[in-house]
């Protein structure tokens, strides 16, 4: 309804994203989608949640609108707001409203980061009403059957503030993600980076080592995404130790001792 908004068509994914299913998540998602159930993706950062959403959007041929949540994300940021234009006020849809109108998939990434009051606006959309009230317009928007709501959440942050409320979480079909098994992770890295088998194996071993350090100085081990970054740098011709330091150890932590320890692990492998 406004030319300033990017057309929903641009949110269609035309090329098949590379995705390796870990378990039955694809069929589960499809079943949930067919039954108009919202979906909650759980899992540590960088294990492929966002990529999975892209893949599903491509499979279901629906536009995908992703919102990365932050701690100042307000209801208006999702629903929409009035703007002033040449002395007039104009309504502009927020991403959630756009997704509802277009019957697309709205993916709220890292939902716990959003302010607590913001999360409540998705409640009527996430149960069988599938309605979205737009207070400021006095409208009640009904979601078309193609619309799908998906949120993601990392239960690994051991903080009470970053917990998902029961009233929110109990509306969703939950899919659990974790780092893929070694063979699968190796395949992913090889596909994404073009590295050979021995270099991939070393990256995997490094990942395992950093995951051993989780809870002993590191909040998280190296994710598949970090391994892919490191692999891409290596494939580009960057010396392996330097590539891993840049893509893994410095990316994981700011703690000098931990950086030094991870660097020593890298030096032991490459």
């Amino acid at each position: 309804m406004d030319s300033a908004q990017s057309p929903t068509e641009s949110h269609f994914i035309t090329n098949e994203p590379y995705y390796e299913p870990v378990g039955n998540e694809v069929s589960l998602f499809e079943a949930a989608y067919a039954n108009r159930l919202p979906v909650l993706l759980k899992g540590p950062t960088g294990c492929g949640k966002t990529r999975f959403m892209e893949y599903m959007a491509w499979r279901l041929k629906r536009p995908l609108i992703t919102v990365s949540c932050h701690d100042d994300l307000t209801t208006s940021d999702l629903v929409g707001r009035y703007l002033v234009k040449g002395g007039e006020t104009t309504w502009v849809d927020g991403p959630l409203t756009r997704a509802v109108r277009a019957g697309g998939i709205c993916y709220l990434d890292e939902i716990v980061e959003a302010r607590k009051d913001t999360m409540v606006v998705i409640h009527p959309l996430a149960d069988d009403r599938r309605m979205m009230p737009i207070e400021k317009l006095g409208q009640l928007l009904e979601a078309p059957p193609e619309f799908c709501l998906a949120i993601s959440y990392n239960p690994g942050y051991q903080s009470v503030l970053k917990e998902l409320k029961q009233s929110t979480r109990q509306r969703f079909v939950a899919l659990s993600f974790d780092y893929p098994k070694p063979e699968l992770e190796a395949r992913i890295i090889r596909h994404e980076t073009g590295l050979d088998e021995s270099a991939t194996a070393k990256l995997l071993k490094l990942a395992e080592m950093t995951r051993n350090l989780k809870g002993n100085g590191l909040e998280e081990g190296a994710s598949t995404r970090l391994l892919v970054h490191a692999g891409k740098l290596i494939a580009q011709g960057v010396e392996a130790r330097a590539a891993c330091q840049g893509a893994v150890s410095l990316a994981l932590t700011d703690d000098d001792d931990m950086v030094a320890a991870v660097n020593e692990l890298i030096a032991a492998l490459f």
């Binding site: 209801t75 302010r115 503030l161 032991a268 490459f270």
Partner: protein
């Protein structure tokens, strides 16, 4: 600068050594120090004073030895040497400390190497984390005389200096750590040495042959597992000029490289190797100490066998209850003991029970890893869940000793927290100096709190109102550049402005500001003997007022009392932890605050800062309620030492993101509190009676 004259030097040394009482002769020392340049003199005299603050005898001995060391030793090494001597004095006493100083010849013999040496304390943190990253059982890095492992701890010497450069010496430590890790990871520690060597005439020779073979095997393992490190190790060995392998041993090397994973390959070759002269170990090789390993291993194996089966029984019960809750009322005897199957996939463990996969919790995974390292595999009988009452829990549970029993029977430090203490004269920490325990406070009279609230009825009401007003409430901010809604007033004005030809404002929106008060407060209450009487009453009343106020505010808070006597008995009393609610039990504990002994503040601050840092909050406050200077029983803690240690502990707290603040009723507080807390971070209350009112008021000012 001009060097000190002999007279000046004599005076300095006489003061430092307190010669009036100790009768040390300083003439000879003056003769050695006089020809030095001023910089060296200052360096030495600085250390003379610092050591003399610990012990004059040690300082005297240091001065006698240091000059001959000065030319050949790096100052960093001299510092380490002096600190090592003082640490030895702290932990073992005078004579061992003097022995350390007399061994300066050892330091001189390796002068260069020491300058480039890797010190245990410096490499410990990085290498501990490095070790943690490697797979297998959790291992601890410790300081020891010899490089060896007992299969749970790895020992490195205080200084590793076999290599030329500092970088190489660090690498050497790392290589040794990796090598010892390989000994635990690839089964060297699970060999039953006594049984294996029984058939040989000379068991010592058999051990040497075994070690030499095993070293070759582990090298092959490391080459495969940690190729980068292995390359570095080859470099180290070459730079250290380790002898090349004799041809006979090269054959073994090739044989072992084919299948290096299990120690059985070594045992198969042992008879043959026994006849040959074993090669000299490489620089990073670690000794095998069969006795140390066997002692630890036998105890561990017995314990782990029980523990694993008990844990599996718990797991099986959880599984069965989950699967069929209605059948759980069936008596346990009727069920056959659960039989698990375990499979290792890379580093991960997969458990199956009745063909159903079970996700093992972290502690079970650790146990499985440890068991598989000791046995080489998981024996099936260990995967049978333990029956009810099969083992006595006392055999496998960690016994927690009652902290109150410290002084009954023999003194122990089990379960206590050990903290360092800052010695200002030494300008170094005294390591592992304070022994601190958390103790539950005995609840006092439950009616006390109600009585206080009744008595201060008006004040409580007033405080609640003030604190309610402080609650950071959401408010609508008008005339913002960005916001959720258009600010119509602003828009109308802006339009009028633009009609008049003036510039139109861009502040046309309203924004809802939401409250986000993320605060955690730790109250540290002085429970020293000097608070006896009305100070103690005032403290308790102040805490009650505070709790009543804080409950309306919703800030997270904890209250701990501290006291103790000597460094071996620092005590922290739990009054309210962050997780406990302000309920009757907590109120009774506040009523139970009684004066105890002394105030060794440093250790208390260090411990409470640690607890506070475990809480997730944007702002962290550490508020001390105190009635005087840090002090301890017949100890140097009274006076400047205690003030400096407290200052250092507060500095550590600030560095970790905590804001310390002190509320005192000591009228002399202004003499030392600014030095400890900084100028703005303390307040003195002149009348004890006002404490209850003031504390809440100060808190309000602090946090708004």
């Amino acid at each position: 600068m001009i060097p000190y004259t002999p007279e000046q030097l004599a005076l300095r040394l006489e003061t430092a050594f307190d010669v009036e009482f100790t009768f040390h002769k300083v003439d000879k020392l003056v003769d050695i120090l006089a020809p030095l340049d001023r910089d060296s003199q200052d360096f030495i005299l600085g250390w003379v004073d610092r050591i003399a603050s610990t012990n004059i005898q040690i300082s005297y001995e240091f001065t006698r030895r240091v000059v001959e060391a000065l030319d050949r030793l790096d100052r960093r090494v001299i510092e380490a040497w002096a600190v090592h001597a003082m640490d030895t004095y702290d932990s073992k006493g005078l004579h061992p400390a003097l022995e350390v100083l007399r061994k300066v010849d050892d330091f001189l013999a390796h002068a260069h190497a020491h300058a480039a040496g890797a010190f245990f304390d410096e490499v410990k943190t990085v290498l501990s984390n490095f070790l943690c990253g490697l797979s297998g059982r959790r291992l601890a890095l410790k300081q020891g005389e010899q490089v060896h492992t007992d299969s749970e701890r790895l020992f490195l010497p205080n200084v590793s200096a076999s290599m030329e450069t500092e970088a190489d010496n660090f690498l050497l430590c790392k290589a040794r750590v990796a090598f010892m890790w390989a000994q635990t990871r690839f089964g060297s520690c699970r060999v039953d040495f006594a049984a294996e060597f029984a058939g040989y005439d000379d068991p010592a020779r058999a051990l040497a042959a075994f070690q030499a073979l095993d070293n070759l095997r582990l090298e092959a393992c490391l080459a495969r597992e940690l190729p980068g490190l292995w390359r570095d190790m080859q470099g180290l060995s070459a730079r250290h000029r380790d002898a090349a392998l004799a041809p006979g041993w090269q054959a073994f090397e090739q044989a072992l490289a084919r299948d290096p994973d299990k120690p059985e390959a070594v045992l198969a070759l042992l008879r043959e190797a026994y006849t040959l002269e074993p090669p000299a170990p490489r620089v990073y090789h670690a000794a095998l100490d069969p006795q140390a390993i066997a002692g630890i291993r036998n105890a561990r194996m017995a314990r782990e066998k029980m523990l694993l089966r008990v844990k599996l029984a718990q797991l099986a019960q959880e599984q069965r209850e989950e699967a069929a809750p209605q059948t759980s009322d069936k008596p346990a005897e009727e069920q056959a003991p659960a039989q698990f199957e375990a499979r290792q996939d890379g580093q991960a463990w997969e458990l199956t029970l009745d063909d159903q996969p079970v996700a093992p919790p972290e502690d079970v995974k650790q146990l499985l890893t440890s068991v598989s390292l000791d046995w080489g595999e998981i024996p099936p009988e260990m995967l049978t869940a333990a029956g009810d009452g099969e083992y006595d829990p006392a055999l496998y549970e960690d016994k927690e000793k009652d902290p109150n029993e410290v002084w009954q029977g023999t003194y122990h430090e089990e379960g206590a927290h050990i903290y360092p203490e800052w010695d200002f004269a030494r300008q170094h920490y005294r390591k592992n100096w304070c022994v601190l325990r958390e103790i539950d406070l005995k609840p006092g009279d439950a009616g006390y709190v109600d009585e206080v609230i009744d008595r201060h009825h008006g004040l409580v009401k007033h405080l609640r109102r003030t604190f309610e007003a402080m609650r950071d409430e959401s408010k609508l901010l008008k005339r913002q550049v960005q916001g959720d809604d258009v600010d119509i007033d602003a828009l109308v004005e802006a339009l009028a402005d633009s009609m008049d030809g003036r510039e139109m404002s861009d502040q046309l929106f309203m924004h809802m500001h939401r409250a986000d008060r993320s605060m955690a407060v730790m109250f540290m209450v002085d429970m020293s003997g000097s608070t006896r009487g009305w100070i103690n009453d005032a403290e308790r009343e102040a805490l009650i007022m505070l709790c009543e106020s804080l409950e309306t505010l919703g800030d997270r808070y904890a209250i701990y009392g501290f006291s103790g006597q000597t460094r071996k008995r620092c005590e922290i009393y739990r009054i309210k932890t962050f997780d406990q609610p302000y309920d009757d039990a907590t109120r009774a504990r506040i009523a139970g605050i009684v004066p105890r002994d002394y105030t060794r503040m440093g250790a208390a601050i260090r411990h409470l800062s640690k607890l506070l840092n475990e809480v997730d909050a944007k702002t962290k406050l550490l508020i001390t309620l105190s009635d005087g200077k840090p002090d301890d029983y017949f100890d140097i803690y009274r006076g400047q030492y205690g003030i400096e240690d407290t200052r250092q502990a507060l500095f550590e707290a600030r560095r970790s993101g905590i804001h310390p603040f002190c509320i005192t009723i000591d009228r002399e507080g202004k003499e030392y509190l600014p030095h400890m807390y900084g100028h703005a971070n303390w307040v003195e209350i002149d009348e004890v009676r006002k404490l209850p009112l003031k504390v809440a008021d100060i808190y309000r000012r602090l946090t708004t």
